[in-house]
Point group: C2
Chain length 240, copies 2
Amino acid sequence: MQETEAEFLKKYDRREYLAPLMTVDAAIFTFHGGKLLVLLTERCEHPEKGKWALPGGFVDEEKDASLEEAIQRKLQEKTGVKAPYIEQLISVGNNQRDARGWSVTVVYTALVALQSCQSFVDNVSDVRWEMYEEALKMDLAFDHIEIMKAARERLKQKALYSMVPAYALPEEFTLPELQHCLEVLIDKPIQKKSFRRRVEQADLMEEVGLRSADKKGRPSMAYRLKEGVKDFTFIRNLDA
Amino acid sequence: MQETEAEFLKKYDRREYLAPLMTVDAAIFTFHGGKLLVLLTERCEHPEKGKWALPGGFVDEEKDASLEEAIQRKLQEKTGVKAPYIEQLISVGNNQRDARGWSVTVVYTALVALQSCQSFVDNVSDVRWEMYEEALKMDLAFDHIEIMKAARERLKQKALYSMVPAYALPEEFTLPELQHCLEVLIDKPIQKKSFRRRVEQADLMEEVGLRSADKKGRPSMAYRLKEGVKDFTFIRNLDA
DNA sequence: ACATATAGTGTCATTAGGACACTATATAAA
DNA sequence: TTTATATAGTGTCCTAATGACACTATATGT
């Protein structure tokens, strides 16, 4: 006799399967003082207690309806950061990465403006922005060093063919600032003219008036991303 | 008094967390008779019993040391396909996609040569190669239609800037065959000359002699991928 | 032989982008 | 006030990639 789906689900007990631990983590970057920064939290529990790690944690079946909700909730709770344009990077799962056993993490990555969360981060001791170059030398929890490197690499690729790094800057920024940000991300100088041609072609920014001259030299024009611009890609590579 | 990590792990019981169901699935494509084909398996159990689905299944903590091993094992067991250059596509997780509850799937995708697994697929009734265009109209299990579309889109992007589609062809192939394959993948004609320039520049294939003329017209040169070529990318887009 | 079908090449025009000199406009110092 | 210098921004040439498309090459079939 055929079992119906309703009958199947009624007797079905998920506890019969010991599923792997399921976490979400986020590699969140910003740009400040000419440096790329990455957001870290200190682990307050075993395993890896006391080590710094990418913010994240267990998916909560009650609180989260999806992986996207889970990572937004975890980020918000732990660091105060809201990352509207967060993007899935990769998933890592094996029986080695967590001492508690088979573990899977779905990793997200985003660029955010420092201003959007500075006050929160400044006021708690277990969250901080670390310079990426320094974070590379740290003994991060689990396999988070490798994950962070993968996120950094993705960022580099994005910077080669898009203007995404604008998200890491304040709402208003100048083209020299954006160019410098890109140069840090791709780790090589960009021709000023090439860069500006691409900005013009992309037609994604609007002028918001001259920046008051706080330093020597000609003042630069300030821009902001046009309304409704969420993501955008150039056809060709910068340098490469 | 501080708890040590060893003490923590000793008393730690994973069954206290009800982790989401953890599966791996694969969108496997090939190219045959001028058409893009996708590999499907028929579900033999509830839920979605009797529906066709992307091959995949639960991660087995005993058998699999990692997600990569899990997807290779599942593919092999269910379809006989070995996909050496399989690639992670995306992970999907929410409380809607599986009637059994919160479920996460890590999706992989690959292009394989039909020959490498034809006999297996021919001999079992619950596995088949379906034309992609037809599969689109099917009522696949879970959210597999959306996942399949995402994999198709990734394939299209890859075809625009790489020669990866060569993996979907027999070991020896002609340039007109490869061009046609690319045209199907990106769904638009390619300039013959542009295509051949790129093949030459890439320097990834070697001649293996003239193809015997089975049809009208000048016979074409057969090629194979050079030894050691695994993945390769062009700088610029085809058409776009 | 000649029509036709398919494979493969030659070549020109367009365009993206690197190189780099040039102009523009500010502050600081003489 | 002039001049030095620093930074912003533009003009212009050269090269490389590639789209467009006509051309040559080599097979089959009548």
